[in-house]
Symmetry: C2
Subunit: 692 residues, 2 copies
């Protein structure tokens, strides 16, 4: 992979003497960026360009070549790839468009290229990409003419869209963010984001990795790579698409729509997901500073108004404005006119105009144990205060290094001054209070959230595989999904508690079952065709005696009497007061097995109040899954109610994660509801829907 | 008021020859901005400054003076005000700090100033403010030295914080937003935001008004002023403070916390509330364009990646990406290479590089009936495409005027080019896709939401006042709140349906009442002390017979047996299946009577799912209040349930608005729950809590 970024020789294929030729831009970029190796040119016609020969084929070149960049019509690419292979070139960038994204013929071409690459062991980026940059090597392969305005630094970029990638580079250069490497991956037929990520994680020059993606190919590998490094990884994932949700089969599938799974997975892997490029830039500016290791921020502001605005934003992003200690306030009191300013956090500097004192106050604040970071809101006039501001900034830079806590600086001044100052200093500057505070929150989320790798999959009980396997294989043979009772048997094998459930085929059996269980009972229809029993009236609750049972039995079977899918009815006891949860699991196309939890029924439907984890995860994640639900307070016992048995749900979540992992044959599992009783009384699956 | 912005003569009080004197900055600002009238100077010592005399008192000046600007120590201000009054100056700006914000002594001074102003009929701005600007008059009164870098235009600013106000001006100047007038109102002892708003609404030069507020003085007047104008008003209200919520007495008060009321009121008044200054700037840039009259946006992008990102943002802010008509797509098809790009909305211009065609496509898109506005995402290299980009922009400017639909333009290019282009063109330019789309959404929200003035208060039934008044007066005499039964009587007088409720004092009465009502019944404790009956076990439901009633009666009175506040028990029938709403009303300190609606119980507590309106409002607003609840779907009949009687709740909301308006003595009303049955069966108040 290193040859993509540090080749000793490059051949550009698709060069001509014509001024309209785009391949020549690649060569001129390599010259502009000062490529340190040898450049060769290949084109349809021999000739001379940039006082270099144009060869007719890579095979004509005598020396070894590390990297080929191809920009020729799509139809010619397989032949050129074949020649590259024969020449012994092992790294190729195909910038040509007109492949899979254009239809059937393009996909044919793609297959041919992939096969040729396989044959010769060639790794290739693209097609349909705009190339790569590596500032250290002076490598610049885009087919649009670039000026080398970029600053060298630790940020590397992987992008699925050339346009978005370029917009990053443009903004990074405007914001003085130093870059190391850049790769546009296009249709990612061979090298994908994970291959590049793996390389960049190992790359000494890369400190932060930004990835723009419209689709995730191998999500699980992405997670594993991210979990194995301390380098911050920022993913801007677009193409959110909510259509998938509407065609899903079960609640779990519908609620755990692709994008929610992506968010959960990235978070679990310690990857920061950014919503737009502004946020990305703010992250990049703040992350190289000292880490924000906690949630306690201090705001120091030259304007009371800005302090108020900042306090509001802190509340919105969940920062605690740490109360400043009495001794600290006492120690800074002397700087202020008596009774002029209420000393508090946010700290309004009011009519204090001494820049040395500003520095002392910032230092004293950083020294506070209860402060994890400082935001300094500075408003000034460039003509009179430009100089002391520069001195203060360089002091702030020292302080943030010395105390290992970040100081976010937001400047309100005229535009020209801001741009000038940004050029002069390395320290990240913000011009909007909300931006700096949100960036500090990003730092907090990144560093506070970091966990130590992946917990092992929870253990399953003995004999579970045998029982579950038998049922699942039988269903697969009969090309059907497990029925309620079968699902419950599988749950029991995994130690997921289920309600006592008697499956009956006629009213006489139902009456016997009810007597055995004891009234009141509930009955539920069993049918292959009915997925949402409640919606069609297939659930009858609180049946108090035999007469009522006979009546309801008649009602319930009338729903399906014209349907050959009727499989009987199950009889269950009515339970004590509890709360309905919905627990589910599914195989995600990109991330593999995932588990979902939510408050049942209307909560999940109306408020979309769910949480998701990618399997495997441990007990603490199972606990967090429930705790992060908005409705968690209900489970803790809201409004004088006693707390519910949350532990039983945590346990069921873990066992569900084992079940979905053991059987790739299972597409979706829905426990709706998982009914939890008051604390100490446990919880029960009242239903079991398993879709194979 | 006009003399604050167009005075013919100004006296600056607090000027001295000392270089450290701040008053001199006011004079130098007036000179820098080219003030068209006469400037006088007054100071403690006679002298000369800016080749003008320094007088010792305004009384020494022979000519009439329109406006005085005072910047002297707080203690001297009353004396100077007195002199101004005697001199016949009727407009004063007091920039001095050190008044009410500094403690008791300052508040004393404030009272004296207010009285002096009253005596002479002086209007004054401040104290504790940074002054005013009026570019047309060349008036600039801030005490910090300014350069006249401002562009004249239609935006006027009222600000409660000098610092925030200056930051607006700084950013406006950077973004080429033209300003007209600026006023910092400080402690607003005499002139407040409403006085200035009234003036600016009438001011011919002002087209858009921005207000920064930390507290709202007379919210109702603010609403009335806003409702009486078509000029866009943008309010940046900070100091959100959530503490009020925790000390409130009832659900309504707690849920309708100050900030939620502010948001509801501003929205109702057609005022756009902005969260931060970035959003403010985006609004200001987009609002002068043609109005966004609907929700259907078309995205045209030079980069596919940007198009995808934009589509995601559109989904987030609720835009419909209007499908483009077949004829339209056919008409532009010819511009594209066959099979290269899928023509859709967002429209990816792909490898189309012809700027004339861009203009034609934008024009054809604007012509589409189903398109209310266009966002054009342009990415280009300044050295090669700067010229055609400029031509395209001027064409876009024409098109947006011609078709009266806005075209939001977002440019991705290098920073220097962006700044340069921004200087060259009047057309608003954005550099971030999310910013331009959010700004278009703001335009939509502003123009689509505009309603035609205030509806009258709903009529109340005859005789209601007499009944309610009698109960309320009795309670006031006894210094207590109405009891449940009394509250229900008031509701009935207003036509708000209540459940049959029999108030009993002992078990024998309870048994008789239950027999009359018919089992099953519910009983609830009546006590002056208990506000949240459910929380203490004061509500017993589903009592099926006399034995159970006796048992539960014993239980319920045990809660309060040690309490002299016991007032008996109410007996109510158990109802058919329904949904609990919570309806409430309160007197807001700033906005007067407000009404709140939410889904009852846990929904309102956990999900804060409520909506608020300021009284008066009409039937359609009452309907919207319910419709905007997240849980509205439940009321419409979710998951196969039949729809509930929403109309009954609308009616109760309107009648509640009448009740809270009729009696300023009522502080809060809580109907928790208002129980609605299935459609056509009405709704009932099951409880009535009225706090006086």
């Amino acid at each position: 992979m290193d040859k993509f970024f540090n080749p000793e020789s490059v051949v550009v294929v698709g060069v001509s003497e014509s001024p309209a030729n785009m391949g020549r831009n690649i060569v001129s970029n390599l010259l502009e960026f000062g490529f340190k190796g040898v450049i060769y040119q290949v084109g349809r016609e021999r000739g001379t360009l940039f006082s270099r020969k144009i060869y007719k084929s890579v095979l004509e070149i005598e020396d070894d070549i590390d990297l080929a960049v191809i920009l020729t019509p799509a139809l010619t690419v397989p032949h050129i790839m074949e020649e590259c292979g024969r020449k012994g070139i092992r790294n190729v960038i195909i910038e040509t468009a007109g492949f899979g994204e254009f239809g059937e013929k393009g996909r044919e071409l793609e297959k041919r290229i992939v096969n040729i690459a396989k044959k010769y062991g060639v790794r290739f980026i693209g097609p349909n990409c705009i190339g790569t940059l590596s500032l250290k090597a002076g490598l610049a392969t885009p087919f649009v003419s670039l000026k080398n305005i970029f600053r060298r630094g630790g940020v590397s970029v992987i992008t699925q869209s050339g346009g978005v990638g370029f917009s990053y580079l443009t903004i990074f250069s405007g914001e003085d963010i130093g870059i190391s490497k850049f790769a546009s991956i296009g249709n990612k037929l061979n090298v994908d984001e994970n291959d590049l990520l793996e390389y960049l994680i190992k790359d000494d020059e890369t400190e932060i990795i930004c990835i723009y993606l419209e689709g995730i190919s191998y999500g699980r590998r992405l997670m594993e790579l991210a979990q194995g490094t301390n380098k911050p990884i920022l993913v801007h994932k677009s193409n959110i698409g909510t259509h998938a949700a509407s065609i899903a089969h079960s609640h779990t599938a519908a609620l755990a729509c692709d994008d929610a799974v992506v968010s959960a997975a990235l978070k679990q892997a310690g990857i920061a997901r950014v919503e737009d490029r502004e946020t990305l830039v703010n992250y990049l500016k703040i992350l190289p500073l000292a880490k924000m290791r906690g949630n306690r921020l201090a705001i120091i502001s030259r304007s009371g108004g800005h302090a108020v605005v900042a306090a509001d934003i802190c509340e919105r992003v969940g920062f605690d404005l740490a109360p400043l200690s009495r001794e600290f306030l006492k120690s800074i009191e002397k700087y202020f006119r008596a009774h002029v300013i209420k000393l508090t956090n946010p700290l309004d500097l009011g009519d204090l105009f001494d820049y040395d004192v500003y520095a002392q106050i910032i230092e004293k604040t950083l020294k506070q144990k209860d402060v994890d970071g400082v935001v300094f809101l500075h408003a000034y006039f460039s003509d009179t205060e430009g100089k002391p501001t520069r001195a203060l900034l360089s002091r702030v830079e020292e302080l943030t290094r010395e105390y290992k806590k970040p100081v976010g600086v937001c400047l309100t001044t005229d535009e020209a001054e801001f741009v000038k100052l940004q050029d002069e200093t390395e320290y990240p500057l913000f011009s909007v209070p909300s931006a700096v505070i949100r960036a500090m929150a990003a730092s907090r989320d990144f560093y506070v959230g970091q966990t130590g790798g992946n917990p092992p999959l929870v253990k399953g009980g003995k004999g579970r595989l045998k029982i579950a396997s038998k049922i699942i294989q039988a269903c697969l043979r009969q090309r059907r999904n497990p029925l309620l009772k079968e699902g419950m048997d599988i749950f029991e094998a995994y130690g997921i508690p289920v309600v006592k459930t008697v499956w009956v085929k006629n009213i006489a059996e139902a009456v016997r079952a009810a007597e055995k269980i004891g009234y009141p009972v509930a009955i539920k229809i069993v049918s292959r065709e009915i997925l949402h029993k409640t919606d069609v009236g297939g659930v009858r609750l609180n049946i108090r005696n035999e007469a009522q049972l006979r009546e309801e039995y008649k009602n319930i079977i009338s729903i399906v009497c014209h349907d050959t899918s009727f499989e009987g009815v199950v009889v269950q006891p009515m339970l004590k007061k509890g709360w309905e949860l919905i627990l589910g699991a599914k195989q995600d196309a990109n991330f593999g097995p995932v588990v979902m939890a939510g408050l049942g029924g209307i909560f999940v439907e109306i408020f979309k109040d769910t949480s998701i984890r990618i399997v495997p995860f441990g007990k603490s994640e199972a606990r967090d899954m429930l705790a992060e639900l908005k409705g968690y307070k209900i489970l803790q016992g809201a409004r004088g109610d006693k707390p519910y048995d949350i532990a039983s749900a945590e346990d069921a979540i873990l066992k569900l994660s084992r079940l979905i992992s053991d059987f790739p044959e299972i597409k979706e599992i829905d426990i709706n509801p998982f009914y939890i009783l008051h604390k100490g009384q446990g919880g029960l699956s009242l239903d079991a829907r398993i879709i194979l």
